[in-house]
Every structure is written in C-alpha cells, then in structure tokens.
C-alpha cells in the first residue's frame, strides 16, 4: 500500500499499465526526461525506456493525430497535453477523427486511446492555464470524459481509461494534485466508468460535483450538517457518459439538487445534469435545481481567481436557499 497524492496515483496507474501491457505507451511534451512539468510521469522513462515514454516535438494537433493513428494499429497510446488550455488545436483531431473512428468504419478500426491533461484553476497560474472546458468534450459523441477527484479514483479511473476500447479524455484537477493523500494499493484494479461515487450519504439535499470542487462540496456538506442539514454528496467522476440513475435515485430520496462546478455556468455539465433531473425526477423535486458555478466570463487572472471560483460559503448559502424554498 502506498500513501500517494492524486498526481502520484496517476503515475502509479501509468506505470502499472506500461508494465503489464506492452501495447501501452506514453507520449507528450516534456514527459520523458523531465517527467512532465508537474512530474506526473516522473521516473517512467528511466524505467520503461524512451520508446515507451516519448518526448514529442511541440505540436498538440500532432500529439493527438499521432495518438489516433497509433491507436488504430493495435497500440494503446496515452498522450499528455500539457495543459487543457493548449488542447484546442487538437480538437480537430479529437472530434473529426478520434471520436468517430469506430463509428465511421463500422467498428473495423477504433481508437483505444487516452488523452490526459491537467485542468482547472486555483494555482495562481498565468492566463490560459486555469479553465475548465470539460463540456466541450462531453458534447462530442464517441469520446468519454473522466475527471478523478481523489488519489484512489485517479488510480482506478486511469486504469479504466487506458483499458477502455474507446477514446477517453482524462482531465486531472491540478489544484488538488498534491492536496490530499490516500492509501492506494497498486493492484491494477480499475474502477468502473459511467459510475458516480457517493462520498457522503444524506437525506435533505443532494450535492453533485466532480474534480477539485469535490473538496469544497464535502466541506460545505460538513458545515450544513452542523446546522442540521444532511446532504448527500455525489462525485460524478465520469462526466460523459453520466451515471444518471445514481443521481436520480438520490434526488428522489432528498427532493433537492445542487450542482457545484468550477466551469462557467452556461452550456456546462451542470446544465446537462439539471435537464436530465428535471426530465426524469420532476415529481420528486421540492425546490428548483440549483447550480453554483464559475461566472460566464473569461477566467480572470489569478488576482481575482478566488472570486471566480465557487467557494464553500457559496455552496452552503445556495443549499440553504434550496432548503428554505417552501
């Protein structure tokens, strides 16, 4: 059993698959000798060699395109895009090629690939390094989008992503890369995708979140409990496709739903969850579905970062508002 932070758990999972599956390889900028700018891939090139852990030239579309091509030929590449903010030139490849390769060849070719990228705010980074645009990917049929919130899930979900026969975008919430440690057994056991995790059981209100915001959400639940409000807290983890039955069952039990997301409010994962719950559990709703999210604005530079990002207080206040709705 190792006591590891989220980023180390990712490293453990990558190492496990590199060791046990000869078709797995890593590619990306600065991932080899440097071990990744966050050190996610530290030690892997030394251990597995430069032909399994490849430093690429500086071109994101190229990284995605290579990954796609390789994955159609029996390999399982795991590519790193250094920051989600740099992925946009690769969107063409992801959307026009990766997402549809299986569909357009009627299953003859497919892309068992992973593209992983650190994302999210809260590390006082320069501009472009803090956005949460997971909704862009969730909107594309044919790819899965996975966001771990803690080390155990980072390990289990990364294994699942690599083993999944279809493209997975694996977004790592960098704010919590090293915040908390878990004891994780390096046993190669994958977690299921399309599955929500219930981190706290409750009866009064359902709080739904993913990624770094899980920490704020759980803290909010703790504060609410001190005021007699017992929240159920759900980690969506796989934001596409979403395990809606778990969320629906919870809302049927509590009657209230609050979605917490770092991303901008409009056109986000939260919008999708709200629509599904309104459609499938309206009879159970005692209050409107609430959302606490980032503003519909260009993410500010870090001086105002904390203002932009949802806080524990905001979540608590909104939850209480829903509790008092009549």
């Amino acid at each position: 059993m190792a006591t590891v932070a989220l980023i180390e758990a990712v490293n453990m999972a990558l190492a496990y698959e590199l060791e046990h599956d000869a078709t797995v390889l890593l590619l990306g900028e600065d991932i080899g000798a440097n071990g990744g700018v966050f050190r996610t891939t530290a030690g892997l090139q030394e251990r597995f060699g430069a032909h399994r852990v490849m430093d690429t030239p500086l071109a994101e579309s190229m990284i995605a395109g290579l990954t796609i091509g390789m994955s159609t030929q029996g390999l399982k590449p795991v590519a790193e895009i250094q920051f989600l903010g740099f992925i946009y030139s690769a969107l063409d490849q992801i959307i026009t090629q990766a997402a549809r390769m299986r569909n357009r060849t009627r299953g003859r070719l497919s892309c068992p690939m992973v593209i992983r990228a650190p994302f999210g705010g809260g590390i006082h980074a320069p501009e472009h390094h803090s956005e949460s645009t997971e909704a862009l990917f969730a909107h594309i049929p044919g790819i899965k989008v996975v966001i771990p919130s803690n080390p155990s899930r980072a390990y289990g979900l990364m294994l699942a992503a690599i083993r999944d026969p279809d493209p997975v975008i694996f977004l790592e919430p960098k704010r919590v890369y090293r915040l908390v440690k878990h004891e994780v057994e390096d046993n190669g056991e994958a977690y299921p995708l399309e599955t929500c995790f219930i981190d706290r059981e409750g009866t009064d209100i359902t709080l739904v979140s993913w990624g770094a915001m899980m920490h704020e959400t759980l803290q909010a639940a703790e504060k609410l409990a001190q005021e007699g409000i017992h929240a159920e807290v759900i980690d969506v983890a796989c934001v596409s496709p979403i395990d809606m039955p778990t969320i629906l069952e919870s809302v049927e039990k509590t009657g209230r739903l609050l979605i917490v997301q770092e991303a901008p409010k409009s056109g986000a994962i939260g919008s999708e969850i709200a629509a599904e719950v309104a459609e499938k559990a309206i009879m159970s709703l005692l209050a409107p579905i609430g959302r606490v999210s980032g503003y519909d604005a260009v993410m500010p530079y870090y001086k105002l970062e904390k203002i932009y990002m949802p806080s524990v207080e905001k979540v608590v206040a909104k939850a209480k508002e829903l509790m008092e709705y009549v």
């Binding site: 091509g69 159609t72 590449p77 490849q93 569909n103 999944d164 279809d166 399309e194």
Partner: protein, 357 residues
C-alpha cells in the same frame, strides 16, 4: 560567410506528353509489357469508375464525389508498388490508390453514397478511411508509421494530400515529427494546380511543394505526376527506403485537375477553358497508351475489350452498391462505442422502434 544549408529539388520525368521516353536509366518495370499494361488498365478503370460516380451523382443516386480525372497516374503509381501489408491513409481524392490497395469500388460508392459501411473495408483491413478534414490524415499517418516502427514491422505507411492541404499546420507537424522520429512514411502530394478555386500560384511562395520537406529535414523529390513511370519509380524507391528503416519521403506529383473539385463544383467559374484544354494534352492515360503502342503492347482491339471489361466491373460494383439493404436506424448508435453506455440505451431503444416501422 558560411552557408548553413542549401537545397535542390530534382524533377523526375521519364515519359513525356507524347509518350516518348526522355530520360536515361529507364526502370526495368517500364520495359515489362505486362506491368505497363496492368497500370494502363488500372488507370482506365479509375477513370471509368469516376465517370460512373459522377453520372450517378448527377442522377441522384450518389452524393458528392471528388474525381481524379487526369491524376490517375499518381494513385496507380504508388498503389502499384504498395504491398498488401503496407498501410494506406488516404485523403478524399484517393480513389486510385485505394482501389489498388484492395478497397472495393462498391465500398467507395457506399462512403460517398452516405453509408458508413463503405469504410468497413473487407480487404484493406488496416487502412484508414477516407478523410475529409484537410491534412488531419497526415498526422494520423505519422501515428500509423510510429506504430509500425514501434512494433518493428517491415512495412510502410502512405498518405496523400493535395497541394492546398500542404498549407495546413497538421501537414507541417506531420512532416516534422516524421523527420525527427525517422518514420516509415511516404507523403504523396498531389499537386493538381487547383485547391477548389485557388490556383497554386496563390497557395504558396515555394517554387515547389516538395521543398516543404526540406523544412522538416526529409528526403523529397518532384515528379511529373502524369508520367506513370516516374510516379511508380519514385514511389517504389521511397517505399523501399521506408520499409528498410531509412525514414520518410515526400514526393510532389505535378499533375492537373481536369475535373471540377467535386460534383458540387463548377470550375468554369474560375479557370479558363484554354488552360483546361491545354492540360488535356498532357494527361497521363493518352501518353501511356502511346508508349504501349510504341512497345507494340497495345492495339485498338485491346482497348475495346478492356473498356468492355472495365464497364462490366464498374456495373457490378454499382449493382453491389445499389442492392445493399438500407442500414437500420439503430446503427446510428451501435457503433458509437465498443459497448454502448447505459446513458444512451433509451435513445437506442427509440431508434430500434423506428427501425421496425
């Protein structure tokens, strides 16, 4: 002052417009009548198929189709020296190369005829499907070549792109990584002078497209793309090197797009008839026929027989295309993932219901 680097681009031509050999060191295959006749037949088949596809589109039986009229030597050239094991990563005007690599005519009709089954190649199992976004295929081809290299296979990958596509970032990124990673990849650049309505004069400041490879440190050459001998010879050389681990090549095939960009285009809006007629005099099939005749390898009777056979083959492909049963609505979702997630099951059910009506 030192010179840090210089470059020169060779232009290769063996067979001129009139069907006469104008270069020394004629490759051996050019003296082989069977090989030459086969290539003539292949080019003729492509042309006949293109014509049929156009006609079908014009009569509402097929969707948009990009023909290769006047550019048949390119695909036949490299297609005739690809092995079955090599992997082809085509663009959208690659009928010739694809047919020679085992893709069926009916599959090409299905693709352009709006049916994904057209990319489920029965024979060319590893080839990537036709690519419509510009230049994305170059990066995917680099990926394929990287996989080949990673697995230690002694084969090569081939990708094709129009001269207009070479303006895109993906093309340069693919060249660059192929060069630095020494990938077993052949870049085929079909310079047919026109990118829809943009003439090559307005596409780049380079004197040749081949020299874009210099910027990536890759071996490159320019050939007369209507000269089947030059096409095949250079492709052969490039593929042999690639398979032997000697790295990538780029060949610019200088040709001319005698047809519209696609069935949805009208080229007379932007180019002169004069230019077009001039180009017809340089087209590849005529000059090969003249060469065959000079070798005493072709007669008018051969021509008539070949045309009849080809017509039958094309008809058979068309029949296969037209007789395939309609795809079921549920196939909209059944190939989305290896296993359709629970989240989409009710949409699948809805599609299934529609399929029973």
């Amino acid at each position: 002052m030192k010179t840090a680097a210089k470059f020169e681009i060779k232009h290769i031509q063996y067979l001129n417009e009139e069907g006469k050999i104008v270069a020394k060191n004629l490759p051996d295959f050019a003296k082989d009548k069977d090989i030459m006749r086969k290539m003539y037949r292949d080019m003729s088949l492509v042309r006949a198929f293109d014509a049929k596809a156009y006609a079908m589109q014009r009569t509402g039986k097929m969707g948009t189709y990009p023909a290769s009229l006047g550019q048949e030597a390119i695909g036949v050239g490299y297609g005739s020296v690809m092995t079955k094991e090599d992997v082809l990563v085509p663009y959208y005007r690659g009928t010739a190369g694809q047919l020679l690599h085992g893709v069926k005519m009916s599959e090409i009709l299905l693709y352009w005829g709006g049916d994904e089954r057209g990319s489920d190649y029965q024979d060319a199992k590893r080839d990537l499907p036709i690519a419509v976004p510009i230049a994305t295929q170059c990066l995917n081809a680099a990926g394929v070549a990287a996989a080949i290299k990673f697995k230690g296979e002694k084969i090569a990958a081939v990708t094709e792109i129009g001269e207009g596509g070479t303006s895109k970032g993906d093309f340069y990124e693919a060249l660059n990584v192929s060069g630095i990673w020494n990938l077993p990849l052949l870049f085929v650049v079909n310079n047919n002078q026109w990118a829809i309505s943009v003439s090559t004069k307005n596409q780049t400041a380079c004197e040749t497209y081949a020299q874009k490879a210099i910027a990536a440190g890759i071996r490159c050459v320019q050939v007369d793309g209507n000269d089947i001998i030059a096409c095949r010879a250079e492709a052969d050389e490039a593929l042999k090197r690639a398979r032997a681990g000697e790295g990538p090549s780029l060949i610019e095939f200088v040709s001319y797009r005698l047809c519209d960009h696609t069935t949805a285009d009208d080229a007379s809006r932007y180019r002169s008839n004069e230019e077009l007629q001039g180009a017809w005099t340089r087209e590849p099939i005529i000059r090969l026929r003249r060469y065959l005749e000079s070798m005493k390898a072709w007669t008018e009777e051969d021509e008539v027989n070949m045309k009849q056979e080809i017509a039958k083959e094309v008809e058979a492909a068309v029949a296969e295309f037209e007789n395939i049963e309609k795809p079921l609505p549920e196939t909209i979702l059944t190939y989305l993932f290896a296993e359709l997630p629970d989240a989409y099951q009710d949409q699948l059910e809805e599609l299934r219901q529609r399929g029973t009506k």
